[in-house]
Assembly symmetry: D2
Homo-oligomer: 344 residues x 4
């Protein structure tokens, strides 16, 4: 049994970690930290979390957490997260960080993208990018894992094989992404109110979204040159789920079966990647740890339209974090993550 | 042309007033005041308000507003509203107040219900309860109108004739009310976030909601004795609309036609009250200034179930306020309010 | 391992059974029957049901199903269900029927309520009402279980102890119930379209809903006299969940703690009944097999307002059916049903 | 006063026409035809349509309609519509057809796209494409107008000036469009049920949607060569509204102000086209007859991302049809269409 703690446990990724870990057979939650809610019963904030009846959110006591935990999930905001992770790392705790602080190969790109000075660049160097389908071996050996974001997971996994195999033009990639509102977290802002989001739809951060540089980092490695990604996110009036429509130019005449084979080569043994024969919809992934990838070859225009989707709180955040934990500790990769998506 | 101003114009009742008044033929908005947003273009906050392109929210300048306005709509919170209304009243401006400050006959009931000291009880005495279907003549002559709330309008209008005519037991009235989220206003609170409201439903303020005393005030007058109202509000995951299910005991054997006649007696000439043959639904009232009332006589149990509904932002707030303005200024009562409800 | 089959597997209760049983450790689905969709891949209709990749909906072959199954879940409509159940019962298969066909003590009440002739009244006599919290011992020994409906479970469990202990007046029970749209099943009707349900809310079947007689059957037994239930259902614009607001008159002065003790006496050992200190909301039960019951004592009016909620597809249908299966076959009652509700 | 009739009045575009025309000062609805619902009170189907109390849907009586109507709006499906329109045209009635039957310049493209034989190609030749911002003069003189679809209006208006002025590459146009569910009409299909659409999002008809050829027709004319449009529609879980994200390559280095000037040149006098400084959202257009167009110049990639949106039932269907009527009959183009969009 692995003892884990969660810092920033009151937000939506924390909630989802608590939910997943409640049924995990090889991990136990020792501390659920929420500085702003220390002392509050977990079930007073989230009555659904019946497995935690009697337990309370706790203050941030680094030494206590380090003493009791082999692994910490950090759900803090960027920069704040690295500061805490550093202290825990120094006390010998393994880290899975859900912020952007340990996702970048290049310190300068991180600092430019997030407009902060990294609190511990020396740890950034030791960290591993926690996308299990690409970096499983490195994750096994890692002490610090930077858990990818929701948009990035939903973008990199469908693009990686296509670019790596030179099937599409890496200079001309358009990602038109749509995310449910839980992706914005649990912030008390007017823009997140039901009345503002409901019956509405909009693009935001057009051509400036921070996840662009994270996607370009990984796709450039696949392309072995600088990839140029045009990334346009939108806000969907749903709670969970991301769907990305990726518009690509085929380099050669390829047919449906060619693309299947290409994906199959990379993902056929991956338990959480499903290649679909028709474009998948969000009700095929919500509440599950899966990413689904479908596509249409438009022979008329020699284009490829790829549709990928996942549950932003699970495969796009907390489920992937648990998947990383499983890999780091030699547990079956699917433990705690076997729940099927819910059509309804 | 009547010159009007709106104080607290940035909230949802202010938004709705701005929308209605943009098409009103006999009223013009001179100042839209929002202390917290003074200087902001109205269309930057609400791009839909195209009629106000170029206009800005303004700071609260009592003298300027008094000089320029024959009437002020106050959308401020209770207590704060009365303080401002007092100053405007003293400068000769007529007032329609959308807060609770001028709705009560009895100062003590107001102060107990809202747990504040009324800033100007002398004005409370001069104010008129702005329910046009009951107090039209008084509103004509009023200088200060306390505009009823959404739950209260949706409760009092269906109950009044039944109680007045002694058809139902005034000691045994159960109002099970359900409101859309715009009724909670535009407050940046976690409880109002899309992710918290969507796919959810709950009761709140059970047996303690403030509107109970306002409903009891009016129904007691109809009953000529103290009415006892059990009022239970719920939060619906929709933006607009209130539906109240009112559970009543019939005093005598009455059939469907009897109840129709009874309502007809009171409301047949009212342009905004519609008595339906079947229970109405919210998509028959949203975006209109109507209240619809339907009912079922349960002969098996000698009960009457009344279903009433309205758009909380229109007949439950800003539309009713404009209806009151029309009456106060001798304009056709329906001016600016002729828009049909929207099925979709 | 118990071999089970599902008839009418393509509807929403069938979908939910397939989902639950995919993770059940002691039951295996042998046949998923859908006459109208025989031959279709289960994952073509429900891509989320990944555990069934390769499996198809099958035609109704009574002998084959009887040969392969120890238990059948029937998700057919009433009357049609009993006809099929009869044939399976005669072949020695145990039955859990999700229709109304085996829920009634009194044939005449069933036939009047559903306006049909019961196809096999002799089996109705042998059937057990599948509300585990009340009839656990009988269910253990049953061969045919009539699985209660969603509204009835959400009504009977909160009312039973109160009436049984004579705490409330059984002649004056008002149930104001609100259900998500999955309760209406998967019928292609205009009234169920997104555009008709979204941003809408309405009452339906006022004073005439069929579940009234089922609730009265059970509450009359508790009251040892004929109970009179005024039942008013409403349609919520959400997919899952029922919330009932039950308006009651207290017979004596009781305080909060008294009601707790009363519920505790009946339900303290029930794994799926949770008594809450504050009124529960639907986001504390959706996706779980729990019923939550909260209440407010209104001392001013000597009334008791009880709020109960559950997921209509789980505790209100398929989860309860699996709970019944577990009891019938001596499996841990919670097997397959341990998933926590989802706040989001 | 123009006498008009509506054929296929029971669907959602018919509903919207009835709503708009109820307040139109120069047009009166003589007959609302619905073959399947003839005899039904309009308010029994749509209680919100209070202006039509007492009126009924009527059967299709061509001679009666021709006698009483100067103009007919046809809301029938393609092919069926042209057959009826032909008969009315022969009787001297002007036609605005909301189907695809009179939208095409090239008969062959229509017949290939819709896989039907056109019932009256001779009328297709005489018809005018009813996009008022491009074809106002022709519409003035037209007897038959083919009213554009929702996706096409939302695509052509933002693209036309850019292509016409050679600012973007007409060979590389990607339209990623998202529509609310009312666009699918009022068909009783499982795929349209609330439970299927809610909390879901998906692409459909990828690379094969029929509106592609209609968009290409108009953009090719602007480009003076064959334009290649990659069109990917998606289904949003909202009732009203379309938002298109259009991904373009700039031919030259252009900055924000250049694009503004370009749009200004074409649309500055258009009452229903609004060029926004920031990407517009659906809550800036729903319930209004406006199209809003915003954009972001991505200097890094020399790309232009254009975001356009409109209410699919109004500017995308019935509002535009009334705008066409106004033009055809010399009425103020904005009559009946002055209602502001609704933020909530």
């Amino acid at each position: 049994m692995i003892n884990v703690s969660i810092i920033g446990a009151n937000g939506y990724t924390g909630l989802e970690l608590l939910n997943i870990l409640a049924a995990h057979k090889e991990a136990a939650v020792k501390h659920a930290v929420s500085v702003g809610n220390a002392g509050t019963l977990i079930t007073d904030m989230y009555p659904a979390l019946l497995a935690y009846r009697g337990a309370r959110f706790e203050p941030l006591d680094i030494d206590l957490i380090a003493k009791d935990s082999e692994l910490v999930f950090s759900c803090l905001p960027h920069a704040a997260s690295a500061e805490v992770c550093k202290k825990l790392y120094e006390r010998g705790v393994k880290i899975i960080d859900l912020s952007a602080d340990f996702r970048y190969d290049d310190l300068a790109v991180y600092e430019k993208t997030y407009n902060v000075t990294h609190p511990c660049p020396e740890l950034l160097e030791r960290s591993v990018y926690g996308l299990p389908e690409l970096y499983c071996e490195k994750i096994k050996a890692a002490s610090i894992v930077g858990n990818p974001g929701c948009y990035t997971t939903c973008s990199i996994l469908p693009l990686y094989p296509l670019v790596k195999e030179n099937a599409v033009d890496a200079d001309d990639i358009i990602i038109d992404a749509k995310s449910g509102t839980s992706g914005a977290g649990k912030k008390a802002e007017v823009s997140g109110l039901f009345a503002e989001v409901n019956e509405n739809f909009k693009a935001y951060a057009v051509a400036t979204h921070r996840h662009t540089s994270e996607i370009e980092q990984e796709i450039s490695k696949a392309a072995k040159k600088a990839a140029a990604i045009s990334f346009t996110p939108h806000l969907l009036p749903i709670t969970r789920g991301i769907l990305s429509t990726i518009h690509l130019k085929l380099k050669n005449k390829l047919v449906k079966e060619d693309i299947f084979e290409l994906y199959d080569k990379y993902y056929k043994n991956e338990p959480f990647v499903i290649i679909d024969k028709t474009p998948p919809s969000i009700n095929s992934v919500k509440y599950g740890n899966y990413i689904r990838i479908g596509f249409v070859v438009d022979e008329r225009l020699n284009r490829l339209i790829v549709i990928s989707c996942l549950d932003n709180l699970i495969k796009g955040a907390s489920g992937q974090a648990v998947q990383n934990m499983n890999i780091m500790f030699g547990i079956d990769e699917t433990e705690g993550l076997k729940g099927l998506p819910r059509h309804l």
